[in-house]
């Protein structure tokens, strides 16, 4: 008995030793090493003599990693993809070939996963490419990689990616904000889309969803907008680019570097001249902006552009939902703006502006920004399907003035309306005009009414 126990002890000790050796073997033969050896052989072929060949083959194997604190990631992809930055590897096989057309976006400064997705820290193929349980962002299919440009290029045109511009434009004009929140602005009928690009959603799913929402999410309250295939793809691109993650100043595109020129462009785009004057040239609704950067600190001006209500309670200035770089650009433009600029901008508009124009412009901004267009249509034409509405369609707003006074319309926007019919086929809760009084100020509602009235089509006189 005692002898047997001693033998058992030694056998178990041996087994422990073997297990440790197996674990060590397992740890010292990771799947990336064969790739590096193959790459060294490829490189050695190019060498002229045996000595330099041997030197290349003797290069120690190591994990390569790009540490990118600005992008909050560490990418080890170049452990196997060794030729991405080497133009001589243009025709190299497998994982080694050169990545053409990167421009300034070299992997050593940007990594790979910011555009391609996948698991940057992983060092074996299956895990790295992210098609494993518990990894949210597997490699994007090649067709959709360009959508990632929008993660940094959040404004303006992205060269070579017209889909992004188109998607962003569709989102703003089709009234998606009416149901979806984006960066804190928008309704709450549909899901918040701020992190849609960071969520685990396959591009194919998104595209099918835009073509027929009910086909992929049964019971969804989202109406079918009858997008074309191209539009659905553009919106998918835009969705994949959405993330609130701050990419760090280094990665901001040149386009977003707060230049006065970009600021001027925004000043024109957002029609600031409709309310403001520069050195007496322009409208008198808001304060004159000549020398405004000398009167106020940068922080104050930034806050004013983020949330005017907070700086001046009761301010009639709308919120514009500008990126931080865009706000900086506007301030940079204002620092150098002269009455001459204002004259040029007014001249390009082609007609003089009145305070009424200012109110209508503000109403138009609100109508688009709060997503009224989502149900009422970009041209106020209505017609979006709603099973709870009379005629199962959202009515047109082009003839509101025939049936209602302006005050009545303001009341409807403020308090909403009870659905006239509860259709069992419809969504729960029934979709109908919500109350906006907690979202919009009275000022905003008045502006929207002004905008509506400016669009009314006169009843044909008979």
């Amino acid at each position: 008995m005692e002898r047997k126990l001693q033998q058992l002890f030694f056998a178990l000790s041996l087994l422990a030793l073997v297990l440790i050796l197996v674990a060590e073997w397992q740890a010292s033969t990771p799947s990336w090493k064969p790739y590096q050896r193959k790459f060294l052989q490829l490189e050695a072929q190019e060498e002229p003599n045996a000595v330099s060949k041997a030197a290349v083959l003797a290069t120690p194997l190591a994990i390569n990693q790009v540490v990118l604190p600005g992008l909050q990631r560490v990418d080890r992809c170049t452990t196997c993809h060794l030729g991405v930055e080497d133009p001589t590897m243009k025709n190299a096989p497998g994982p080694f070939h050169y990545h053409a057309g990167l421009g300034p976006h070299v992997p050593s400064k940007f990594g790979c996963t910011i555009c391609h997705g996948g698991q940057g820290l992983a060092t074996d193929m299956k895990d790295a490419h992210g098609n494993v349980a518990f990894w949210q962002t597997p490699l994007l299919p090649a067709d959709y990689v360009r959508a990632s440009c929008g993660r940094c290029h959040k404004e303006g045109d992205v060269p070579g990616v017209p889909e992004l511009t188109e998607g962003r434009h569709l989102f703003e004009t089709e009234g998606c904000h009416g149901c979806h929140k984006l960066n804190g602005v928008g309704g709450s009928i549909g899901p918040d889309l701020t992190e849609e690009g960071a969520n685990h959603r396959s591009p194919e799913w998104l595209e099918r969803h835009f073509l027929a929402p009910n086909a992929v999410s049964p019971g969804s309250a989202m109406p079918n907008f009858h997008f074309t295939r191209e539009q659905a793809r553009a919106l998918t691109y835009y969705m994949l680019s959405l993330t609130s993650g701050d990419m760090g100043s280094y990665y901001s595109s040149e386009r977003l570097i707060p230049s006065p020129e970009y600021g001027r462009q925004l000043f024109v785009e957002k029609d600031c001249i409709v309310c403001h004057a520069i050195g007496g040239v322009g409208a008198k609704v808001g304060p004159d902006l000549l020398g405004v950067t000398k009167r106020h600190s940068d922080e104050w001006l930034d806050e004013q552009l983020v949330n005017p209500e907070l700086v001046y309670p009761g301010s009639s200035m709308p919120k514009y939902d500008l990126e931080s770089n865009a706000r900086k650009a506007l301030v940079a433009f204002l620092a150098s703006a002269t009455p001459k600029d204002a004259q040029d901008i007014l001249a390009s508009k082609g007609h003089a502006l009145t305070p009424e124009d200012a109110a209508i412009e503000a109403g138009k901004q609100d109508f688009a920004r709060f997503g009224c267009a989502g149900c009422h249509g970009t041209e106020l034409q209505g017609g979006v399907a709603n099973p709870n509405a009379q005629g199962e369609q959202v009515p047109s707003l082009l003839h509101v003035s025939d049936d209602y006074t302006k005050e009545e319309v303001i009341g409807i926007i403020r308090d909403g309306r009870v659905s006239p019919m509860d259709n069992p086929k419809g969504s729960a809760p029934p979709l109908y005009m919500p109350s906006w009084k907690n979202v919009l100020s009275n000022e905003d509602i008045n502006h929207i009414a002004d905008f509506l009235w400016s669009k009314q089509q006169k009843k044909e006189s008979w």
Binding site: L5, A16, I20, A27
Partner: protein, 428 residues
Amino acid sequence: MKWIREIWQSIVRRDPLSTDKGKSELVFLNVWLHIHPAKVKKENLRFKYSFYLGFITFFLFLILLTTGIALMCYYRPYPPAAYQDMKDLQFAVFMGSFLRNMHRWAAHAMVVCVFLHMCRVFYTGSYKKPRQFNWVVGVMLLLLTLGLSFTGYLLPWDQLAYWAITVGTNIGSYAPLVGGQLRELLLGGHAVGEAALLRFYVLHVAVLPSLVILLTIVHFWRVRKDGGLSRPIWKLKPQKTEALVTIGAPAAVAPLQVTAASKDKTYGLMEVVTGKPIFETVTPEEEKDTVFSYPYAFVREAVALMATVTSIMAISLFFNAPLEEMANPAVTPNPAKAPWYFLGLQELVSHSALLGGVVVPALMVVALILIPYIDRNPSRRPRERKWAIWLFTFFVVANIILIIVGTFFRGPGWAWVPPWVHVVARPE
């Protein structure tokens, strides 16, 4: 050669192991080994009496200490670095995942073994006089083990960790009056976050292990002072318990009996007091039933140690410790489950928060602690303590069933979903 022998002698300071004196000196002249008696009862060495569960638990704790210290070299206790360090262990650190696997599986095994050890001690009636308080120490160690496992659960900072701890601490907050505040104290806030991770880390690597070490010392010391393991039931002496008298009993009632010493025995006398010693006494007849700890006890312990180590290593080679996505407070898995050993509690909570989350577990702990003081029946024979055995068996089986139900039979919304039914949660 003489001086080598002299140096060796200066280290071991004992007679050769071929002599009985040498064998006993090996034990009591060695600071690590002298927790053992020089001689042990033959019957107590039988595997089928104790299953060496106490030893195995202790060895698992040693594995956890060593792998834990190694893991500390790679771990930063703040998000998101904590999660990145897990990924580094998995993909970049040499043998990192093996190390983490060993720590994880040894931790689960320790929870199981502590529980099994408690069951063994109960069924053999070994918590009875004079060992009542050591049972209480054991229950404390069980609770500390659960605490260690629970605090360690959060450290990987993945979804599994985040939501298990959120659910686990929510169960605790159902306690009336203090529950909410206790949770806040533990988490350093209202929700699991950076502060909670740091607090759990401090508890996991400093506070709780120190307490476990302290109580383990007490636990072992008392086993030794109580004359080693309790005598196997099949070797019980008739009316053995009657002969036991506590220290401080009047000398007239229980006069100190001195048996005649045989020639070749040595006694060390520490202090002369009145009364009989509290621990079990050994008569010369029983003396025949003992063997020297060296090598009989030591070789068995060494086998238990190697069996424990090799099992954990083998499991770690083939099964990876789970690691999900990084913790995300915005995405709640459905259902969010506590660590498996608390799933019985979660199951109870799903029926009644106050009753299941507070009353029942509190009563369970109090009842466990008080067992040796409630059960005053001196007999250790199963035939004479049927009630105690039935009650305890009910407690064990109920716990196991609740944990199995919580683990395998609960799906989204805590609805009854058998494991063979596959449910796909609808994307929002």
